[in-house]
């Protein structure tokens, strides 16, 4: 059996991926907390607007830079646990992060103001798929290069499509390279004439379809962008390289339900295609049935005298339900294990309630780490 420690050996960047609603944010926080307790200086980066992580860590608010989670707070919640490292956490503001990057890349104040003030730019974050994702990886890249942490844990944004995440650097680069469009947008120039009839047709149709004003905006946008495109491309290349760096690993989180499982398989395929490092599979919220519960039929008889027939039957129903769910989950987990070529997935049983505090996070970490005491 591969322990979590072995999986993360030598890794400095852990990217936690998976579809929405499977407990990615909580798993990221638990992982970071566990590693910090173990002695590492860890920062966890989340992008979730529901501020779940902030709540679980008892932080009033997270900023756009990592903040240290108070050791006293951890100590108060779990007096038996000694925090040997440091836990830092940040709630990423994607828009502010992207703006910051633009400011840094701008060669002068005029370019900066033009870009930040442009209507197209202001719509960018909601318009171009991957902007949020790119901001997240760019922040990770920055933290990685500043070198202040032993391990960085990234809770990926809740994309519908894993490709939004993996393709983000390329997609944004494509977008920024759209400066080439500037040539098209000045058809009277020599370049426009050289590009020939096909181009002017494209241009004409675009004008007809999208409306002149919008094109004007785009032209201004790409003109002002011109000064920082090279810087951006360089950064995007660095960000992309970090995704496949040997110090990086992807943990895929799924639940046994159909859609999250399908998403996990899809993401894993894409990782393999892109030759990015897959570190392991976490199957969260699995229904697990212990043999000590007994068989529903036997339970009715066994509990009849203590509880009465009607209540004994209800208890048996509850166990029968659990058995059905556990059987369904076992099939799904076997399928996932097979598809991801991961003989030893980390299975976390459905916990009794949402994990919202440090104690819960520590319990979750014990499950993740495969600590025997936490099983069952």
């Amino acid at each position: 059996m591969t322990s979590l420690a072995q999986r993360l050996e030598g890794k400095r960047v852990v990217i936690v991926a998976g579809s929405g609603g499977v407990g990615k944010t909580t798993a990221s926080a638990a992982l970071a907390l566990g590693l910090a307790v173990g002695g590492a200086r860890v920062a966890v980066v989340t992008i979730d607007p529901a501020k779940r992580l902030a709540e679980s860590l008892g932080l009033e608010q997270l900023g756009n830079e990592p903040r240290r989670v108070q050791t006293e707070l951890l100590q108060a919640a779990a007096p038996d646990t000694k925090m040997r490292g440091e836990l830092w956490a940040m709630m990423l503001d994607p828009k502010a992060t992207f703006d910051e990057l633009m400011v840094r890349l701008s060669p002068d104040a005029q370019t900066r103001d033009e870009v930040l003030g442009n209507r197209i730019y202001r719509e960018l974050s909601s318009a171009v798929a991957g902007t949020q994702e790119f901001s997240a990886i760019a922040k990770l890249y920055e933290l990685h290069h500043e070198g202040g942490f032993d391990v960085l844990v990234l809770d990926t944004p809740p994309s519908r499509n894993a490709l939004d995440f993996l393709d983000a650097p390329d997609r944004l680069t494509d977008f920024f390279e759209g400066r080439a469009l500037k040539v098209l947008l000045t058809p009277t120039g020599i370049a426009g004439r050289l590009l020939g009839a096909g181009t002017s047709v494209v241009f004409g149709v675009l004008k007809r379809i999208t409306g002149v004003d919008l094109l004007g905006d785009i032209a201004v946008f790409f003109r002002s962008l011109g000064g920082l495109v090279d810087g951006f491309k360089e950064r995007a290349a660095g960000v992309k390289a970090l995704l496949s760096d040997p110090v990086t690993t992807f943990l895929i989180v799924a639940s046994p339900e159909r859609e999250p499982a399908a998403e996990a398989i899809f993401f894993h395929d894409k990782l393999r295609e892109a030759e990015m490092p897959f570190g392991g599979l976490i199957v969260n919220r699995a229904h697990v049935v212990g043999a000590e519960l007994g068989q529903p039929e036997a339970l009715c008889a066994e509990l009849d005298s203590a509880l009465g027939t009607s209540l004994a039957n209800k208890v048996a129903d509850s166990v029968a339900d659990l058995q059905r769910l556990a059987a369904r989950d076992a099939v799904s987990i076997a399928h996932l294990s097979d598809e991801l070529d991961e003989p030893d997935p980390i299975v976390v049983p459905m916990l009794d309630g949402d994990v919202t505090d440090v104690e819960g996070l520590l319990a979750l970490y014990r499950h993740l780490a495969g600590d025997g005491a936490a099983r069952g």
Partner: protein, 303 residues
């Protein structure tokens, strides 16, 4: 209430990721088809490699496929929508092909903020027209939209309005205005929010309510609480169980009961934050059987 819902042109099903939007949209489509409405379930930006709620293997994206009596399905991809739009706007001939192949055109279409969303919503709107633009296509009584999660779902609904304002003039502005008139008309368009009785899903439903109002002035039409676990025990029974908690199966039942109590609290919160009594769908151990879910939904929506 149910018939009100089915009398719309567009039913947009959205909610937090992972709550079962696709399944609920499919079940709603089935409910409408049973009621004799010619219905199409439109999945937005769905990948063809993921099994959909309906078994429709081998079909091409953007194809309107009949699944059952009065029930159809389509998967909408912005690229397909763009090509269709071009065919629609331009005289037939090589021009369309040139544009389709033009890298520049693709780039600009992708680079234009909100263009993908606009093309998607444009296709949804087209499906909902009694007089379809698609040659030879018959009209539908109802389009059920399996929309992306909350944020992107609202962005799609808002796109026509944004474009109409940004483009100022020209055909896009004109069409944006027309589409927005349908989207923001509560007589034609209704939004159904799907949630689970979990804290974060309920919170996001409340956010959806305000975002929707702000973006296009629509209110939530219905709220569906999906995948509810059984709520079996009365307070008296729970007390009796407590006395026998040493038994592992009883301890297990008590843990179910605690979850059921939390679920109740979240359902109450959902009701309070949305102003709707949620329709309730049970968690199905064997995976959701659509016919069964449609039965449940029918009963709940009529209630």
């Amino acid at each position: 209430m149910c018939s009100d819902l089915l009398a719309k042109r567009l039913l947009v099903v959205t909610g937090k990721g992972g709550v079962g939007k696709t399944t609920v949209a499919a079940a709603l489509g089935l409910v409408a088809a049973r009621a004799g409405k010619r219905t199409i379930v439109a999945e937005v930006a769905r990948r063809s490699d993921v099994t959909s709620a309906f078994d429709r293997e081998g079909s091409r994206p953007f194809e309107e496929v009949q699944l059952a009596r009065e029930l159809f399905h389509i998967s909408i991809d912005p690229q397909d929508a763009l090509e269709e739009y071009l065919r629609d706007q331009l005289p037939p001939g090589p021009l369309v092909d040139i544009l389709k192949r033009s890298r520049m055109f693709g780039l600009l279409a992708a680079a234009t903020p909100g263009m993908r969303e606009l093309l998607t919503v444009g296709k949804l709107w087209e499906l909902a027209q009694l007089d379809r633009r698609t040659p030879g296509a018959d009209a539908y009584d109802l389009v059920v939209v399996d929309a992306p999660a909350t944020g992107h779902g609202v962005a799609i609904l808002k796109a026509p309005r944004t474009f109409a304002a940004a483009a100022g003039s020209g055909p896009v502005a004109r069409q944006g205005t027309i589409i927005d008139a349908t989207i923001s008309d509560p007589a034609q368009t209704a939004v159904v929010a799907v949630a689970r009785a979990e804290e974060l899903a309920v919170t996001e439903t409340a956010l959806l309510r305000s975002a929707l109002h702000e973006a296009v002035g629509l209110e939530l039409e219905r709220v569906v609480a999906n995948a509810l676990e059984p709520d079996r025990f009365t307070p008296r029974e729970a007390a009796l169980l407590e006395s026998q908690r040493a038994h592992p199966a009883v301890a297990r039942a008590l843990s179910d009961h605690r979850r059921a109590l939390r679920q109740r609290a979240q359902l109450a919160r959902l009701r309070k934050l949305t102003g709707h009594k949620p329709a309730r769908l049970a968690l199905h151990a064997g995976g959701a059987d659509l016919e069964l879910l449609a039965d449940e939904l029918e009963a709940q929506l009529a209630a």
